[in-house]
Symmetry: C2
Subunit: 219 residues, 2 copies
């Protein structure tokens, strides 16, 4: 449970920067359901996840939610420390979806390191680009939600036809059925898996939450 084993660019930092991090970072444990960061609050700090699962989401004035992405072991949550950059002009909420353990890195310490280390700044760029990519994918889903709906109804149909929730289907076959690319189906199935809707194994797609799958059709 050493900090340096979890922090990806540890070796690219100076000894001084390493010491700054280890002396400032604190290990925290939170139970499932804990809201770790609330959009409107102050700069919580970066979260470097040791175990568990976090969910990043936004909240409307009326209390509606959208999940933006999830964070797992070894991921870093950047936007809980939005004060490290002036141009981050949006607020997100972070919740522990499972019992979670993480290192909390104070925003000012990270900012100072980033200002002086090209490695840390570039690493931060990559984190942000990864999250940006997830959000762009979400936008496409929201705007052109044909694929997820079409995949959902296809899976339900097949399941009804075969009389089983465990479907022997390749991604290629489904893609051909839906007139789309295999990659699109693979990506969507992995999304379904992260959402707990299906479980993927070699050559098999097991529907684990048919209710949630059906609900996709109504959205």
């Amino acid at each position: 449970m050493n900090f340096e084993d979890y922090f990806p660019i540890w070796d690219k930092l100076t000894t001084e920067q390493q010491n700054m991090l280890t002396s400032a970072a604190t290990l925290r444990t939170v139970p499932k359901g804990t809201v770790l960061h609330n959009g409107s609050e102050n700069c919580t700090g970066l979260l470097l996840i040791c175990s568990g699962q976090l969910r990043a989401y936004i909240l409307s004035e009326e209390g509606r939610e959208i999940t933006l992405y999830r964070l797992f072991e070894m991921d870093i949550c950047l936007f809980s420390a939005s004060c490290i950059m002036n141009s981050i002009q949006f607020d997100i909420c972070i919740e522990a979806e499972k019992d979670s353990e993480f290192w909390l890195i104070p925003a000012d310490v990270y900012k100072k390191i980033m200002e002086n280390s090209a490695a840390a700044a570039n690493y931060t760029n990559e984190i942000m680009a990864a999250r940006f990519s997830e959000v762009m994918w979400l936008i496409e889903q929201i705007m052109w939600k044909s694929v997820d709906k079409r995949l959902a109804s296809f899976l339900l149909e097949e399941s009804a036809l075969e009389g089983t929730g465990s479907l022997k289907l390749t991604h290629e076959t489904i893609a051909n059925h839906l007139g789309t690319a295999r990659e699109v189906i693979t990506r969507m199935l992995h999304y379904f898996q992260r959402e707990g809707i299906v479980k993927l194994a070699r050559g098999t797609i097991e529907i684990t939450d048919a209710k949630k799958l059906t609900r996709l059709l109504d959205t």
Copy 2:
């Protein structure tokens, strides 16, 4: 029209880095309507805008578009050089919305500078965070589009009531009418202005495209 006058962190680069940039960057002029970058194409390079206006958008398989954001003089277009970061896993299109002049910076040159300069990497972080913020705002609009619709119908109503397209209204007044914050209205009005729907002046909102405003109600 010197490159160094347009490149924001010029003074923070080494002479060698400055020379790399000036010898690699080329000044380009394109007429309105030119597609400068097409999602599926290769890494076009960074665009540093001298004059004109660019539009970043995504395109569905069916050819539907969504405008993500616009870029103006002194802005840098980063995602036309998505190959500078591994984690940029999405494609956007860039189009010149007006006759435009810009410096084209080859992606490999910028990447090399960014790898060695914390200043350049942090600057890139800020650019990305700014675009991310615009996209997050867009998501909120898409998901919870109450405000734009409500503002649109409010403006149309007022215009019909007053018998003029030039409305004497403060943002505060409108916010009160719609039960939202003044900042929300100001932001939305600026968005309307960028879309060519209204023109803002001190104490006045002029509807310049009533058709487009009406169309907002149908979406």
